[in-house]
Amino acid sequence: MSSQRDKPFFVGYLPIPKQLVAFLGVFAVCFVAGLGLAALALSSTQDDPGDGAFQWGAPFEETGFLELRPYPVFRTTGAEGGAPKTYMLTGQGKRGVFDQARENQGVAVTVRGVPVKRGDLTMVQVGGVTQVEDAEGAFDMSEPVPLGRWRLSGEICDGKCYAGAMRPGRGLAHKACADLCITGGIPPVFVSTGPVAGRNFFLMTDANGNVMGDEIKDLLALYVEIEGDVERLDDLLVFKADMDTARVLR
């Protein structure tokens, strides 16, 4: 401590001692530059959130049927004779569209909205639903095709944020948001590390095909392994998760 004796003594309300001016000047530059370098290092190395995003420039408008499987989905025969498609649906914000799906079950409707797209996953944020007259029977919807029992590892997300409503829309930092979305009626999806029939995401239901309950809350956003039956509904895969087999991997 004796070496401290010769060092200049700073008193806040007096001028800075000359011997300290250079030291403090260098420290101030290091402080500002150090924070700047840290900002650049931390900001430039952010993880890629993927290509998911709202397709604001390509509004969605198609005619088909609303079904509850058990979450609201919109099924179409495909444009101009194309393959039939099944879209997961969401409302505005962190809300689902259960009410609109129930009100319009069994009748042909035109759904307008904004697609949220990530890779080959497209979810539609519903803006409006109108019934189509004289269109009953024009659609012949297929039944789900079983693809067998699978043990999948991956993450349970909410379909909307994962599809691109938020970037990033997965991970533990997003866990509470995913919980709010799913509680609000947005379908949960299982994002698998390995593909099944070429797909890595699945609409999740419980083992009996019902809406997921609180049993997924503690597992949201974690890296988990779950067994269950997989079904194909047009181009959408449905994972009927047996939550008794769920375990956290990491």
Partner: protein, 358 residues
Amino acid sequence: MSVKYAPVLWNRNKYLYDAVLLAGVIGYIYLYTSVGPFYQDVTRPIDGAVLRMRAFGSCAFLMLTIILCIGPLARLDRRFLPLLYNRRHFGVLTAAVAAVHANYVLGWYFNFSPTDRYVALLSSNTSYGQVLGFPFETLGIAALLILFILAATSHDFWLSFLGAPLWKALHMLIYPAYAFVVLHVALGALQGPDDPVFTSVVAASVLLVGGLHFAAGRAEMAADNYQADASSEVEALEQGGWIVVCDVGEIESNRAKVVSVPGHDRVAVWKYKGKLSALSNACAHQNGPLGEGRIIDGAITCPWHGYQYQPEDGRSPAPFTEKISTYRLMLVGTTILLDPNPQAPGTYVEPVVIGEAS
């Protein structure tokens, strides 16, 4: 030192301090949100709200780390004492930056929902029984509340109202706040995709804070260990309760030797004008280490904020009213002895004249 309360007693040094502080924080936020994204390897840009919440959150973490480094740095090297002078402004700005981070989190992750955002904040993740997936937001809330309390009570009014010991004890909550922040980051942001840069920054910050405190503690312990060659007269006095401070030649003029008194506060023994006086080592302002100060214009001057005391009676020069405890001293040969029983704050004690012993 003041005889009335004002929001801030500005001076040139405080302006300079705050200017550097603001330049650092504004530069950090600008570079993080506006320049860093040009160098990101991403398919599509990260949401602006997420980027801003990360910018303000990481900035608050780094600011808190620096704040906690200032104390031990100033103990290890006095050239860092100016950083301590206006540390309260640093703390208040840190609380504000952390609040902006929290506001972005509330307005993004907890917004757009039928559930009220404040209700959602506390109710959406309740997995308290697990480490992975633990509601790390709660840890952030706890840290933010502490930072708010510390910022709100940082003014000298609260220091005077609560008294220096209680005020200082309250502001030691900065350490639990830092622990909450580290856990908040460790259970939240660090559990995302591998991010070696942020992980390294957090680990280095924690090691730096811990290492500096350890080093400062060791230096202080080493300074406390004094062994005197005791004469029979000194031994007799020691048995009577007096404490050996050091040899009179060890104290430089206008400086002090700090001695630990078992069961009491530390005492600073000052040498000046061929005399010796002993006062409490704790400044009445923020309990700063008076013994690390100097005598300027005949007054003991605290190294933290320049509060001054007369060495004979521990009173601040008029018109100021602060006062601290004084102690009796004795000089046997060249050995200084201290009566560890404090006199009432502001009590005059006749200085010991060194004479030929010096």
